[in-house]
Amino acid sequence: MPDIKRIFIANRGEIAVRIIRTARALGLETVLGVSAADTESLGAKLATRAVVLGPAPSKDSYLRVGTVIEAARGTGCDAVHPGYGFLSENRDLAQACADEGLIFIGPSPDNLSAVGDKLTARSHAVAARVPVVPGGTVETLDDATVLADKVGFPLLIKAVAGGGGKGMKRVDDATSLPAQLDMAMAEAEAAFGDSRVYLERFVTVGRHVEVQILSDGDTILHAGERDCSVQRRYQKVVEEAPAPHLPPELRRGLLDAAVRYARHIGYRSLGTVEFLVDVERSEFYFLEMNARVQVEHPVTEAITGLDLIALQIAIAEGKPLTLTQDDIRPSGHAVECRLNAEDMAQDFRPSPGRVTQAWFPALPGLRVDTHMLPGAMIPPYYDSMVAKLITWGATRDEAIARMLTALDVCVLDGITTNVPLHRAILSDAAFRKGGVDTTYLGKLLAGTGENA
């Protein structure tokens, strides 16, 4: 494929600015497609050109495949970068790019199909000998007893025909299995006319650990793992790399599994394989693969020195990776805090508005990815993330200390942000110890954290 000269960016906010940063460094032009609400955004000002895709609501602008393609062609772009969210994993966009002779800076439509659906993605994991959460369908108590023996307790019983947690039962030991199974099958029969149920291991203490993949289709490398266990309602809040206190053999297993998965589906681009780490059993299970750049990619960049966006572009141009696995030598530790315009005191309600002051000075080991400047408007239509602070340290303690300093020194006035939440997390003994699980933040917020 020919070298890219002008990239159409089908995104907004900090990731649009992040892509423009690397494009400028590579000497590439950029065209940013914006909604009518984003015409004055930093990205719109920094891009070589900005075009208005449509009105403020995403469905009328950022989510319109045809409009994006039309805009990219009409502005003479030769490639489309979808960022994250919006159309980034949309098979139709990738396909339309292929049909129109535009380079999609992401994986192939087939790759997107392979990972886009949970069940398909899981079946690929099984085929690639990547562990998934143990479980299976049972029709009788005998089946259930045999399977429960393999799966272990606690376990979950779900109706095969059900969904959304309906009729789900947690079983803590073998004694209560028969009664719970009876009840679950009766409920399933009553609710769905299908008494079959599914038994699955219940992970009491789980960590979210994901592996960064880089693949040119032939060479498949990993760039280490990230720990994203600090979540609020499945939204990542703090991420870090590497994952603290991960047993070496578990880490090795994770990294190998991620590469094996990517190889199995013939993946070609930047991507991330997400795992649930079962802390009590020291095992891990495949969750899903994200076929795009992640919000938290900077922590990987901080410990590896790579420019993942530049590599993503090079792969899209058809260039073979010139790196080998040995060239990627993570050093030190990095932490990322997502600053959101939201009001913790009002149940994290988004707080859009106009920024009066934004100052993110040079601090040792600090990187800030943001589209905030004094006077910036945060429209109410989109994600409330306004900045990512990333600190690097020779040790995890140093990275955390630097983040606490950054939170004190940086200024973002005019809007309410979740900075107090980040201070609380980074000062909390359990977090500082390292290796918290996905229930951690909920407990901290409920005041039942280790240190509450």
Partner: protein, 150 residues
């Protein structure tokens, strides 16, 4: 950098005073001038949803707030795409300067991925200018043609 003298400002004040405008904002280099007529509402917030542009249905005469220098009201593109003056290559254009249009007169087509979207004038009057070139990309909100209201 352009420089306004006091005399210029006097002139502007007089001019605006005699006009029908409620509000004036002027920025020239580092000079910034804002005027608002007594009793007038401050202008709409910057990030507010775009007001329904062309569909001025009622009988209120539309002021010519935008681009008064061209002598017409802008008809903005309702969506991004390729703007076509005529129904097909070689055919006569939908409208040309001097034509009279009604609110429902089709003034052009915007193509998005082979889908043809006809665009109506949204206002009755006389076409003064075809602003967007044939066969080229128009952004959402970009001026397509200008119409002097009837």
């Amino acid at each position: 950098m352009a420089e306004l003298t006091r005399a210029d400002i006097d002139e502007i004040l007089k001019l605006v005073d005699g006009s029908e405008f409620d509000e004036l904002k002027l920025e020239m280099g580092d000079l910034k001038l804002e005027l608002r007529r007594r009793g007038a509402n401050p202008s709409a917030p910057v990030a507010a949803p775009a007001p329904a542009p062309a569909a001025a249905k009622t009988s209120e005469p539309v002021a010519a707030p935008i681009a008064p220098e061209s002598g017409g009201t802008e008809v903005p593109a309702p969506l991004l795409g390729t703007f076509w003056h005529a129904p097909r290559p070689g055919a006569a254009p939908f409208v040309k300067p001097g034509d009279t249009v009604q609110a429902d007169t089709v003034i052009g087509i915007i193509e998005v991925m082979k889908l043809m979207n006809s665009v109506e004038a949204g206002i009755a009057g006389t076409v003064t200018e075809i602003a967007a070139p044939n066969g080229e990309l128009v952004e959402h909100g970009q001026c397509l043609i200008r119409v002097r209201p009837a």
